[in-house]
Symmetry: C2
Subunit: 266 residues, 2 copies
DNA sequence: GTATTATTGTTACAAATTGAGACAATAATT
DNA sequence: AATTATTGTCTCAATTTGTAACAATAATAC
């Protein structure tokens, strides 16, 4: 209903909502095409780390058994990056999420009106054959890194649920969304040292072991403890804090945080 | 029948060219909006290497003193990558150009109707205020690598000329095209070892010195001769051929080519 | 012919980085 | 006080990279 209000508001686009009159909505308003740039979508691979596994958020559409990445559309006067941030805020409640665009998927065959029709139909929407969501879409794909523990994901109107799935135990995703996940992960691996990935997947203070586990989950391989520690410390990006007493029968590890650095892209 | 939105744009693909009748063209037909996906463009940073410098192709629009990257639009039923290849063939005459998508530019402010109006006007086109090229565009940016010597670039209809410009001596480019060049070059640097860049910027057979000069032009720094040679040979990607006798008063260098490799992205 | 010149290809050794293990330190628990 | 399971650091080996030396030419100059 929050969404309904939103779709009812003027967005700054100077266009009257003529076409929306064509859509007889039974329950809720469908996205009106005048508000958005046609043929253009975005999808987000939202990564989180639960301490053991790398996971992503996946939507399940109502009554269909269809799984998909969360995505959305760009308003007529809205920056592309802002549109993605807006949608992420709707799904996660978080502001200022770490976001990286990694590819734009533009094959003609990627769009599938049949799937979209089924999703809309199962949601009891009534829509014309010319409804814009049935058209071909080019999708700009982003990956996001968020702190797993701080988030209570919220599904969108069309979806039953939004849930965390381990990266190596995903359901089959619609259209080319599996390719998106694959490419997102490859990009993440390539960027792991440049972009200080851990900064966004971990709480502010963390142990060296936790940081190593994030790296291992992303790279999909075990790392040598001593070499990893030496490398991280030599990079001069970590600040050491007090020890963490966990009540375990061994030496307590130090807590670290990432140094506040100015003017460096993370 | 497909529906139209407020811009008069058709959102489907198989439409007659109704709207083009609105455009009274004095000389040539302007691109008709029904043929292309609205609001979506692409731009290409086309790299070549002349033996000394890294260069890119830049268009100059007729009578305006405005310089821009070559670009184009995606047909309603055309794959994004194919559209870029098609446009590159038009500019360079080459098929199967090495192409890499690197970023999609989607800021609202990047579009500039004033500039586009001026370009169209200086070309003696007559067009309505609602002409689709004056709308906001999201642009997917690619870089291409081509063999400098094999190409005779051809300007498009709106442009006076298309010419090679050294990467560090470019004219001021319109809109965000300078950002595109900058990001293309950064991506090229990052990819230089992974993607065997030289394969596409050099003739089939080349000396180690030429290969080193390509690397130096891309990275913008001098490399150590012996280290470079050792690294390249150890990568096991080069095939050694006959010596090249240049008529110079010193030892003749070997010619090399890249090994034919299957199933590896270059 | 022979000496000269400007590279080129390779080797040798030093310096730096990384791999692999050893070992002492230390929070609980027994 | 002994035991246990890490953690932080150090040591030495293995590998990679930086740097320079050097022999091998393909022309040209004499």
């Amino acid at each position: 209903m929050r969404q309904k209000d939103q779709y009812g508001q003027n967005t700054g686009s100077k266009l009257p909502y003529e076409t929306s009159l064509l859509i007889k909505d039974k329950k809720k308003k469908l996205p009106a095409q005048e508000e958005f740039i046609p043929h253009l979508a975005f999808d987000s691979v939202i990564f989180g780390f639960n301490g053991k596994q790398l996971k992503i958020l996946v939507l399940e559409y109502h009554n269909t058994g269809l799984f998909a990445l969360p995505g959305g559309f760009v308003k007529r006067d809205e920056n592309l990056d802002d549109a993605v941030q807006r949608s992420l805020k709707e799904r996660t409640g978080l502001d200022n999420i770490y976001l990286e665009q990694f590819h734009t998927f533009g094959n003609n065959a990627r769009s599938n009106a049949t799937i979209m029709r089924r999703i809309l139909a199962e949601n009891d929407y009534d829509f014309p054959d010319t409804y814009w969501l049935l058209d071909r879409f080019i999708s700009v794909a982003y990956y996001a890194l968020i702190n797993y523990d701080e988030v209570a994901p919220r599904a969108d109107e069309l979806s039953d649920s939004i849930n965390w799935y381990a990266i190596n135990d995903l359901p089959t995703l619609i259209m080319d969304h599996s390719d998106m996940v694959k490419m997102a992960l490859e990009t993440l691996k390539r960027n792991i040292d440049k972009k200080l990935i851990g900064m966004n997947l971990l709480p502010p203070k963390f142990t060296m072991k936790q940081l190593k586990e994030v790296y291992e989950a992303i790279l999909g391989e075990k790392l040598r403890r001593t070499t990893f520690q030496r490398k991280m410390l030599s990079m001069d990006i970590l600040e050491r804090h007090e020890k963490l007493f966990q009540g375990t029968a061994h030496k307590a590890p130090y807590l670290y945080s990432f140094k506040k650095i100015k003017n460096v892209d993370r």
